[in-house]
């Protein structure tokens, strides 16, 4: 393989300088995986590596090139990068994010690029996650980061807001450790509002940071459908049959004919995770502020109520104190209700 005439700059110089070595690496990788395409790899070098390598300081070019070359070979071999990638988001992330984070890539090439690649992979495989939004947000925040650690922490906070709801608790803890200016940018609020938001958000998963920054009090609370999640496995959901809900330790468990899943849901998304059914799970509304009688669900402290007839026949109604989860014996969907502000 020779450095394509379309590859210019520092990457071209480095490839030419270490031509034998890089060619040998490619040959060895192709020997292990004969379907590895030289044309596809050349494309990756030109469109994905070159912008990054050409953006890093000159002193870092050898180390960055070596790391990215190895990673690109590895990922391309596994169809995780390149024009035929199973997860185009990863390629897009490399093209958009890495040049913007060139300073941090130069500092810790494998750590930064590897971590971002893994994050892009998770966003790709999580149904409902918005990877593009994550890329845009992290690229926008790059100038505000002063260290590699900050970049990665911001990435965690943004990933939660991109739909990885199961990281909510951890992301809020990470946000609390960020400088308030950076945390404010990551949460989309003013720095002065960060302490209030971080105090309110853990208590109500259905508030956005902007709402939490106002204190989280609902002037006119109504019990509303805040999200529906799940679905039939044939249509991309997790269930083969209508699930039944339980709650255990504040965690919602949904069980169908084959498996049990736990549900993490909030204002930014919902994620599903296989689980073992615990021996003692609550299948009712005991010790919660909610009641369900006939077809009416009510939040006793506020008096807000909701007619659940449209969701009949009801299979299960459970709550963790903040969210009401309802399932129907005729639907593979899971319906989540909570108090929200209705203007």
């Amino acid at each position: 393989m020779t450095a394509s005439p379309r590859i210019t700059g520092a990457l071209a110089a480095r490839l030419a300088d270490q031509r034998d070595r890089y060619n040998a690496l490619f040959a060895q990788a192709r020997h292990v995986r004969p379907t590895l395409s030289a044309a596809a790899f050349a494309d990756v070098l030109e469109t994905t590596l070159a912008p990054v390598v050409n953006a890093v300081p000159a002193a870092a070019v050898p180390a960055v090139t070596d790391t990215l070359y190895d990673l690109a070979l590895e990922l391309l071999s596994r169809d995780l990068l390149g024009p035929a990638s199973r997860y185009p988001l990863i390629t897009r992330g490399w093209k958009v994010l890495l040049p913007m984070l060139a300073q941090w890539v130069a500092e810790q090439p494998r750590r930064v690029v590897g971590a971002l690649t893994n994050a892009l992979h998770q966003l790709s495989i999580t149904p409902g996650a918005n990877g593009e939004a994550w890329i845009r947000a992290l690229a926008h925040m790059a100038p505000a980061c002063t260290r590699v650690e900050t970049v990665l922490q911001v990435g965690q906070v943004l990933a939660w807001q991109a739909g990885l709801a199961h990281y909510r608790a951890g992301a809020l803890q990470v946000a609390a450790r960020l400088p308030v200016e950076v945390a404010g940018l990551a949460l989309g609020i003013e720095p002065a509002q960060v302490p209030t938001a971080l105090a309110v958000l853990p208590g109500n998963p259905w508030l956005t940071p902007a709402q939490a920054a106002q204190g989280g009090e609902l002037a006119n609370p109504q019990l509303c459908l805040v999200r529906q999640a799940g679905g039939f496995r044939g249509f991309g959901g997790p269930f083969v049959s209508p699930p039944v809900a339980q709650v255990h330790g504040g965690v919602f468990l949904l069980t169908d004919a084959q498996a049990t899943w736990w549900l993490c849901a909030d204002a930014f998304g919902a994620t599903w995770h296989r689980a073992e059914t615990p021996p003692a799970a609550n299948s009712g509304l005991a010790d919660t502020p909610f009641t369900f009688t006939g077809k009416k669900a009510q939040h006793l402290p506020s008096g807000a109520w909701l007619d659940l007839s449209p969701f009949s026949p009801i299979a299960s109604v459970v709550s963790d104190g903040t969210t009401l989860v309802v399932t129907s014996s005729q639907s593979h969907l899971v319906f989540l209700f909570a108090l929200t502000e209705v203007s």
Binding site: D20, Q28, R110, H248, L253, T260, C264, E276, P278
Partner: protein, 525 residues
């Protein structure tokens, strides 16, 4: 066929189960995925013996096609098959065994000695040496450029460097002359290709660097760092374009042969040609030894224990060869060195000795004995081999395997010995490694026959002596003297003098002299 990169470990967990419901999610998991970000432990915690083994297996699996297991270890009785008219034996080792062509240079790398790779052209001698340079962290380009190629016009300046011309003109004294030293002198891996094509005068300059680790031109000295040396030659007889000077040959610590290519592995060569694969270009970075690791490696090798019983067997083996009864009258001079210095042929003197069983006498098989340097090298490489195998101490098997390669050029066979005429022994005329290994086996058999582990009067006297002389009374000293004299008298009763007895007798004389001197002092108190 080049295999995939070294030892891929299955990702954990390898037997995954659904998580319990109460498990909390860790946001750090966002950055775990197809790219492994596991950090290697700090180098201070890296097990270097494991790294050395990894390097060995990477080389045999990816770099040099050497499907040989001539360094054989057995966990139990091996399967043995006899083939052909000459009853050639092929043995299937029952424990992990190694190719000497890969292992010996690697051990040399660990202990920073001097290794000679011999064999016909194109058998991988230079390639093996280059790999050692890459293992030390140098780029392939730097290793190739620093390699010194022996050729008949090679001068000392070619080898070591040149004085700066301006200094030569302007200098008022020798100290003012600066030398542009060759860059290879500062490297931790030094490769001399075809060293037997270097002119004799230049060989002397090379000897200074090899032996004393410094280079000298016009009174200017360059101190070289500790390095592992690799010399290559097409033959090990010291011949070539120029005869290799004895002192230079003597500085070689270990000799290993490049074995012929096994043509059943031609497919691997074909693949390399087609894929243009050069393994030395893609050695994994995790295998490379830093300077600190190389230093630590050498220290850890030296710390490997050499058990006393194993040491005794080495002593017994080594003592077989120096003794030559007819060389002198003075007992201390009765050795082959005396004869050589007098210009006499050792084999002629050996042949004139009667009364001893010349088949049984191991010393009759050699023209020389072992030097201190050779013994120290045996000990060092035995430790290195034990260390490589992950053992805390040297075993007899380690000695047996390493001794032939260390003594390959150190023990000169006396081909006139009747041993080589005996049935089945003619093969040892050409198989130097096999011959030395046979010598070691015969010495060990003799050791066992004499039951020296439990019945060694000299060892008992040594143990007494090592308790110290201070505080001994006159009676105790005289008792020790009597013990020594009694052993000598017993041995004097018609016992044939073989090599190991020579060393024992000199030791007894030494002990006797030490006690005698102490007694004289006691009597003056």
């Amino acid at each position: 066929m080049p295999k995939s990169s070294f030892a891929h470990i299955s990702a954990a967990p390898t037997n995954p189960r659904p998580r319990a419901a109460s498990r909390a999610f860790d946001v750090a998991d966002l950055y775990r995925g197809p790219v492994d970000l596991t950090e290697a432990p700090p180098s201070a915690e890296t097990r270097l013996d494991e790294k050395l083994r990894q390097a060995y297996f990477w080389i045999v699996n990816n770099a040099i096609i050497s499907p040989h297991y001539d360094i054989e270890y057995h966990a139990g009785p091996p399967q043995v098959f006899t083939l052909g008219d000459s009853k050639s034996i092929i043995q299937l080792p029952s424990a992990q065994s190694y190719s000497s062509f890969i292992l010996i240079p690697l051990l040399n790398f660990a202990v920073r000695r001097r290794c000679l790779l011999v064999g016909g052209p194109g058998r991988g001698k230079t390639a093996s040496a280059i790999l050692m340079g890459v293992l030390a962290g140098y780029s392939v380009r730097d290793v190739r450029r620093a390699m010194q190629h022996g050729q008949p016009q090679m001068t000392i300046s070619d080898l070591l460097g040149n004085p700066l011309p301006a200094d030569l003109v302007n200098a008022q004294k020798m100290d003012d002359i600066r030398i542009a030293w060759r860059s290879w002198l500062k490297m931790r891996i030094k490769i001399i290709d075809e060293y037997n094509r270097i002119p004799t005068r230049t060989q002397s300059a090379l000897l200074t660097v090899m032996a004393d680790n410094y280079a000298e031109i016009l009174d200017q000295i360059y101190e070289c760092p500790e390095a592992a040396w690799y010399l290559t030659a097409n033959d090990d007889a010291g011949g070539g374009t120029y005869q290799v000077i004895e002192a230079l040959r003597d500085r070689i610590d270990v000799v290993v042969k490049a074995l012929p290519f096994n043509n059943r592995f031609l497919k691997d060569l074909l693949t390399r040609i087609e894929e243009n694969i050069r393994p030395e270009e893609v050695m994994p970075a995790s295998l490379i030894f830093s300077l600190a690791e190389s230093d630590r490696l050498e220290a850890e090798v030296r710390a490997v224990t050499f058990p006393p019983l194993v040491r005794r067997r080495l002593e017994f083996f080594a003592s077989q060869f120096e003794f030559l009864e007819s060389a002198a009258e003075q007992f201390e001079y009765k050795n082959k060195d005396t004869a050589k210095l007098a210009g006499l042929e050792v084999n002629v003197l050996l042949a004139s000795e009667t009364g001893k069983d010349r088949l049984k006498d191991l010393g009759a098989q050699t023209k020389n004995g072992l030097s201190v340097r050779a013994l120290m090298t045996v000990i060092t490489f035995a430790k290195a081999l034990a260390y490589f195998r992950g053992n805390p101490e040297v075993t007899l098997d380690d000695l047996r395997q390493i001794i032939p390669f260390v003594l390959h050029d150190k023990l000169t066979p006396n081909l006139d010995s009747p041993f080589f005429e005996a049935a089945g022994h003619s093969v040892y005329r050409t198989d130097r490694v096999g011959w030395i290994r046979k010598l070691f086996d015969l010495a060990n058999a003799d050791y066992d026959r004499l039951n020296l582990d439990t019945d060694d009067p000299v060892a008992a006297l040594e143990a007494d002596f090592e308790r110290g002389l201070n505080g001994l009374t006159e009676a105790q000293v005289r008792a020790q003297l009597v013990k020594i004299e009694r052993v000598l008298a017993e041995w004097g009763k018609g016992r044939k003098l073989y090599g190991h007895l020579y060393d024992d007798l000199l030791k007894l004389k030494y002990l006797h002299q030490r006690y005698t001197n102490y007694l004289r002092w006691l009597l003056t108190q």
